[in-house]
């Protein structure tokens, strides 16, 4: 009788253990906080060109004090001791973009009036300090520059428009006006022979530098 009672107690204990394990296995996971929402974007395009929206010039290593802000063309040149750097920037204010907007794509178009003697790869760098058309070689050395945005080939054909993607810099400038102040364009290839690319500037009658921005806001 005693043994039978012990057996029943053991059986009850085992049954209880199984039930407890089963209960623990059915615990579920929940959330304390839940929220969902949406945001819709609108798309548009803004095109900037002309003298009031563009600032451009070039500076010469071999004529350090000279300024060229009002000339109808600007140069990029590689040559030992005779480098020419071009500077181009655009005033985005007429696009009326809020700081929450963003550039989907931004393309800088430059008209190459006169090609260099051979195809050159030009480098585009954001200028991270303000400048004006009175810039010269000496003052250009005191400016600060970001890492190269992109490079492009001049090709070997006169009177062609070259398209240069500058989306990342324009996107940054929309979000913060002081992110950059346009671009410096130079020829960083080491070369002793003079290779000059001449572009139409905003002061010319036609084919001025143009920035087309496709944006969202």
């Amino acid at each position: 009788m005693k043994t039978l009672r012990r057996t029943l107690v053991l059986l009850a204990a085992l049954s209880t253990f199984g039930a407890a394990a089963g209960y623990a296995a059915t615990l579920s996971v929940g959330s304390n906080h839940l929220w969902d929402g949406t945001q819709t974007l609108t798309k548009n395009t803004c095109t900037l060109t002309g003298t009031t929206q563009t600032t451009d010039t070039f500076v010469e290593q071999d004529h350090a004090p000279n300024t060229h802000g009002t000339e109808p063309t600007f140069n990029v040149q590689s040559a030992t001791g005779k480098a020419h750097w071009a500077f181009v920037s655009f005033d985005l204010s007429s696009c009326n973009l809020p700081a929450t907007a963003g550039a989907d794509t931004a393309t800088l178009s430059l008209r190459l009036n006169t090609k260099p003697a051979q195809d050159r790869v030009l480098t585009v760098k954001p200028v991270t300090a303000s400048w004006s058309e009175s810039l010269n070689w000496t003052s250009a050395q005191t400016l600060t520059y970001g890492a190269a945005t992109t490079t492009f080939h001049t090709g070997t054909t006169n009177n062609v428009t070259l398209s240069i993607p500058v989306t990342i810099d324009v996107d940054a400038k929309i979000k913060s006006a002081s992110a950059n102040y346009g671009w410096r364009i130079d020829d960083e290839g080491a070369i002793s022979a003079t290779q000059t690319s001449t572009f139409a500037s905003a002061n010319g009658a036609s084919n001025r530098p143009t920035l087309v921005i496709s944006y969202e806001k």
């Binding site: 009788m1 043994t3 039978l4 012990r6 057996t7 029943l8 053991l10 059986l11 085992l14 049954s15 253990f17 199984g18 039930a19 394990a21 089963g22 296995a25 059915t26 929940g30 959330s31 304390n32 906080h33 839940l34 929220w35 969902d36 929402g37 949406t38 945001q39 819709t40 974007l41 798309k43 929450t100 963003g102 550039a103 989907d104 794509t105 945005t149 992109t150 993607p165 500058v166 989306t167 990342i168 996107d171 979000k175 496709s214 969202e216």
Partner: protein, 129 residues
């Protein structure tokens, strides 16, 4: 009689053990008892969110930044779905809400697959904690 009783008891114990193990193995598919009730699930204070995305020079989205999230959401999970035409999902990502001073922000990186910003027409947000 004593021997018979002991044997019977042992047999019962072994049987009970197998029954218990068997029950444990089948717990996932059934319940012996069910209960229903209500529990309140609320927002952590979010009423709306807006995102700003970064792009690379090719115009592909590299990061989605969401700011202005109430501090009560700190540590919770933000899910962002990038949507295109017809509200189709283009890509999605998650981030833990942090950097609260005084409101919180979150940055969703590693957007995959690549999404051209020009195809991006909206965002769907979810905050879960």
């Amino acid at each position: 009689m004593r021997f018979l009783s002991t044997t019977f008891g042992l047999a019962l114990a072994v049987l009970a053990t197998f029954v218990a193990v068997g029950a444990a193995a089948t717990l996932a598919v059934g319940s012996t008892s069910l209960a229903a009730g209500n529990g309140s699930v609320s927002s952590c204070g979010v009423s709306s969110l807006t995102a700003a995305r970064k792009v690379d020079n090719s115009g592909n989205v590299t990061e989605v930044d969401v700011a202005g999230i109430p501090s009560a959401c700190s540590g919770e999970k933000l899910s962002v779905t990038l949507t295109g035409s017809g509200n189709a999902s283009l890509a999605s990502g998650t981030a833990t809400i942090g950097s609260c001073a005084p409101t919180c922000s979150a940055a969703v990186t590693g957007i995959s697959p690549a999404v051209a910003a020009s195809n991006l027409l909206g965002y769907v947000f979810a905050v879960q904690g």
